[in-house]
């Protein structure tokens, strides 16, 4: 029983990483109906910005809580900037084009960041400094809960609530929802569509940056391709939870994380991805809009 609980803890902490990345996917999709495949790579950039910042400022040598937050904020700001640049340079010129064009551009940006990262940072893995040292929150013979996964989980939940608050209860959030609902009508009502979309990317990329730092804390190996698979799986998690739905992204991430861990722990790690994805197919067959997604009538 305790082993099962431990696997559940492992699964939730791994799932919260998917959740953190899935939040950014789902928000950009919600506003633009664009699957931003470069999102996972912005997440990778976040980890590298943090790595270089913490070494350059010597935070890595003497980690403090303040140093950790400084690194986190720096990575979030840098990623937000990158997100805006990507949107302005790659997506904005194509906004009036068919959706497929933007999708392919997103894949292009993703490949550019991955390979550019290999050129710039080198392809060999780097090891993220221990900014917060590991300690145990709860420990019995068969069940151990340590602080790092708990921090990742707490941060994803806080960010989820914060995002929900921004989208539902602020002026800019209202504008985002208006743009999501009908871009032309929103523009006619005096909403500055360009600014709203830029803000969406800013927010999503800052989230990815935070994700990069948090993941690097719990799993300190970082390399330019680290965003590829988690990014893909986070996208799956977002679809699973109902793409465009913020709590859905977190729920989807948790389900994916827990099912992967359970399969690896109890069945076989060889079939980990196969079984986890089979589960996804089944859920989507039963509920095509995802677990928390609402059914939207196709606009004719």
């Amino acid at each position: 029983m305790q082993e099962f609980l431990q696997q559940l803890v492992n699964g939730v902490s791994w799932g919260s990483i998917y959740a953190l990345i899935a939040l950014g996917y789902t928000m950009v999709y919600g506003v633009l109906q664009l699957i931003n495949f470069a999102h996972g790579d912005v997440f990778m950039l976040g980890a590298f910005f943090g790595y270089y910042f913490s070494r350059w400022t010597k935070i890595a040598q003497e980690p403090t809580l303040f140093g950790f937050f400084a690194t986190l904020l720096f990575a979030m700001a840098a990623c937000a900037l990158v997100g805006i640049i990507i949107e302005r340079a790659a997506y904005k010129p194509l906004r009036a084009r068919p959706r497929l064009t933007a999708l392919i551009t997103a894949i292009g940006v993703s490949l550019l960041l991955e390979n550019g990262g290999q050129l710039l940072f080198g392809a060999d893995p780097k090891f993220f400094p221990t900014l917060i040292s590991e300690s145990k929150l709860y420990e019995s013979e068969n069940l151990v809960i340590s602080n790092l996964p708990a921090i990742v989980l707490a941060v994803s939940l806080v960010l989820m609530l914060l995002l929900r608050f921004i989208v539902l209860s602020t002026k800019i959030g209202k504008a985002m929802r208006a743009v999501a609902f009908n871009r032309e009508a929103a523009a006619l009502m005096g909403v500055n569509v360009n600014n709203v979309i830029s803000f969406t990317f800013l927010l999503g990329s800052a989230l990815a940056g935070a994700g990069g730092i948090l993941v690097a804390l719990a799993y300190p190996k970082i390399d330019p391709l680290m965003g590829l698979l988690p990014g893909l799986k986070a996208f799956v998690a977002a679809v699973l939870g109902g793409i465009g739905n913020i709590p859905g992204a977190v729920l989807g991430g948790m389900i994916l994380g827990v099912s992967e861990t359970m399969v690896a722990g109890y069945i076989s790690s060889t079939f980990r991805d196969a079984i986890a994805f089979a589960l996804l197919v089944i859920i989507l067959l039963v509920k095509p809009t995802g677990l928390l997604g609402s059914r939207v009538g196709e606009k004719v």
Binding site: Q7, P125, T130, V215, P220, K221, D223, T261, A264, G265
Partner: protein
Amino acid sequence: MRKWVIFGLTLSLFFGCAKKEDVIKIGEFGGLTGSTATFGISTKNGIDMATEEVNAGGGLLGKKVQVIVEDDRCLAEEAASAVKKLVTQDKVVAVLGEVASTRSLAGAPICQENQIPMVTPSSTNPKVTEVGDYIFRVCFIDPFQGEAMAKFAFDNLKVKKAAILKDGKSDYSVGLGQYFAETFKKLGGQIVADESYFEGDQDFKAQLTSIKGKKPESIFIPGYYTEVGLIARQARELGINIPLLGGDGWDSPKLTEIATIKKPGDALKDCYFSNHYASDDPNPIIQDFIKKYQTKYSEVPDAMAVLGYDAANILYDAIKRANSTEGPKVRDELAKTADFPGVAGQTTIDSARNARKPLVVLKIIEGGKYEYTATVNP
């Protein structure tokens, strides 16, 4: 403009040809970037040192030796195309590489087909030299390594129940795990869990939790250093405080850097792995090499550097004895290598083109340093 381009091309062709005359081209393929990059870099350092020494002493057969290096980014597909390029385009006379058995296995058939001798410094999976009679290695093989570690665990550490956590996609890791299990069971021990992970994985807690439930007294992890470091951290995080054991894939300066929770290397303190040489061995050949290496690269050489150096020297020695760079002649001389005074021990190539030599067991101690523990003879 065009004229100049043609002129330039002709010129380069001319120099290209002229150069071909007075050098012996040796190909080297290795992962200089990627998941096990320190293996490739150390091997290259070792080979470069050997080559510089040979060239300083007048070269081979009156010609200078030139090593052409291809980076395979630690990918098997890239390894195959790197070897193809070395053999067909650069026309090398022999190939040195790889460290990882999976990548050596990708390159070996190309060398065999073209009758180009290939010497791998440190691929330990037995299948590598079974590819054909042009493929050699200058290190011991995994059945020996797996057996030695199983005996060490059973006899020295008094372990009766062991678990295995291996890389399911790596020939090296699967093979080594299997040989460990065979010997350990023969001795009367019990393998309570046999789990897999895959190179590039970040999270190993599911497998480790499952292993923990079976209550082993030790875990054998026949993987490469990046994953081993992460596994050690996560094992300690989960409260698994038993010794971890491994093979020569652990040997990298990065290993203890990754496996650091509070103090350097603390996640792997009191763990053991088998290796090709011990840097604290007082043998003057080893200490001289370490001194030379340190002045050149300002770090203590790992086993990959030592084996890279030995592999290059054994190849150069064979070319000298063959008095030719023709594939079949060099091959015959390589096969005759006996009692070559390598840094990683006296090297004799046996009829299966493997090297017969002792291994050492190293213990990871305070500060992430290695301490010599035992020597096992074949």
